[in-house]
Subunit: 322 residues, 2 copies
């Protein structure tokens, strides 16, 4: 058995999986962030023990623990460098701490990477050696799988798609300090940025006018209005889609994945968003790099991270990459 | 021993290397492109046999053959899809043909990939798990090494840096049919494109004026003039460097290499070019993705491809990635 946890700011998604990454049991616990989040790992461990016993197993039946965490990870050493959402500050060796608790091999990766790995093993990227997942949420993140393995890069910054500069007019400042990042025009926040911007510039009539004026606009409203045919909202979504298509054209000539998987909250817009991206993607992309590549939405929803965390054990403990 | 060949349109660079990729013997033969290039592989094989005998070895002392070829390769199957410079047309299974000739395992990759692998094992990228090589020649090519392995992508189009769209004004048409590719503004041809363009637009005084008017300009003239302080040439090189810096900023957030290695003819401009790129690179790049990354020039010159071809055997026959 493999133990896996996707540690989030509100809840931790826990699971017991077999070595083929089938979920034997899954559940959630509340994330207790008190005392600088120092209870989190112990709570997860205790919960594993409790749930293992309900299916007549114990820790010795397990071959390893995979953990996904919401922050930058030094993968080789299992050290996380702060995670604001968990109230974790500075460098913490999660791998060493959880190995001490459990006596098992532990692998730790960031949440975007484990979600990508989940989709690669059991979701939209299954059976493929080369896939990319682009997560469109509050920000834009993602992960790259090439040769059946996650790419971390030498400093752990691989797959930071949110910080590809795509807005040549550099209209919006990114959290990273730069202007023009993909995140500023294609995250949930970015979609709203563009709607405010074009409303001011173009003074379109639109059903989302009231939300714009009250500054209460949310990405979902824009997608819903666009799907219903609101001209202004369609205009905004086309702009979002064009920026994403450009980023996807770059992803395609960089690691040439079979699937570009869109995850995160914005991906709930589904095929509507994919269709708009596809209107630009091929025109922007070097032909050998788009031939056969499919843009798809993620399949595993909230389970992706937990399954992918278990996937770390499949790769690094069992040595099985496929 | 490992046998390796970097097959080019004019000469084939051949070598006998040990399993640590030290060159025991190296030499060149002329590429005979007659009869649709059907003699090339046999000539290489015969030359290997002859040179092995001069050092009292024979084919049975060898563990495999690595080949670099100037065209698109389906790496898993060792099939090349045409190579204009070799007079090869359509799909040819080079791996199967050379295995039949030699009785040894054969691995085949394109020239940009084997050159990258050469630099990774014995050149500017040695001892690093994550490096990228960007080849600035007549066109712009390159290769990506992540997790100590080449990334091919599912369709063999990974590392096609030349076709990242960087020129937002899309001023020059690329050989691929699109406009605005990195290749149109940063290859040897691209540097010349920009010089003609800005000369017409700005009417600078410049020492390369005569070559511009006669349409005899070459990239080297522009770099030489820029190094000597010619204002117009410096202006052009700054534009080239800015486009490269943008591409490098993308490479950095994609696979986050330790070294971005510049190869190809244009890299002879050396530290002068690197210095200009560095003036833009950090400003354009997500900070965690440039921290510790170095932009360097290639070290192995013409031997890179042959050493990297041997490196394929180290990875795929010996199973040694480091």
């Amino acid at each position: 058995m493999i133990l896996a946890a996707d540690i989030g700011g509100t809840t931790c998604k826990l699971g017991i999986l077999d070595s083929n990454l089938n979920i034997i049991k899954k559940w959630e616990i509340v994330t207790n962030k008190d005392d600088n989040g120092t209870h989190i790992l112990k709570n997860i461990y205790d919960s594993f023990i409790k749930h293992l016993s309900t299916i007549n197993l114990n820790i010795k039946d397990c071959i390893g623990v995979g953990l996904g965490v919401p922050g930058p990870v030094d993968f080789n050493n299992g050290i996380i460098n702060g995670a604001i959402n968990l109230n974790w500050h500075g460098k913490i060796n999660i791998k060493a701490q959880f190995e001490a608790l459990s006596g098992l091999p532990v692998y730790v990766d960031n949440d975007a990477n484990v979600a990508t790995l989940g989709e690669k093993f059991q979701g939209a990227g299954r059976n493929e050696s080369d896939v990319v997942c682009v997560t469109l949420g509050t920000g834009v993140g993602g992960g790259i799988v090439s040769n059946h393995e996650l790419i971390h890069g030498f400093n752990g910054a691989a797959g930071e798609f949110g910080h590809i500069t795509v807005d040549t007019k550099q209209r919006f400042k990114c959290n990273c300090g730069k202007h023009g990042c993909l995140e500023t025009v294609a995250s949930a926040t970015g979609v709203v940025n563009l709607a405010y911007h074009y409303y001011e510039e173009l003074q379109f009539k639109t059903v989302i006018e009231e939300a714009i004026i009250k500054k209460e606009l949310q990405a979902k409203m824009i997608f819903d209005a666009a799907k219903a045919g609101d001209e202004f909202s369609v205009y905004v979504i086309k702009k979002v889609a064009k920026h994403l298509a450009y980023a996807f054209s770059i992803i395609s000539v960089m690691t040439n994945p079979k699937h570009i998987i869109i995850g995160g909250g914005v991906s709930k817009a589904g095929q509507f968003l994919v269709d708009h991206i596809e209107q630009y993607y091929k025109d922007l992309t070097f032909p050998p790099a788009y031939e056969g590549t499919k843009i798809v939405t993620a399949e595993l929803g909230n389970d992706a991270g937990m399954i992918g965390a278990a996937g770390l054990i499949k790769i690094y403990v069992l040595g099985e990459k496929i």
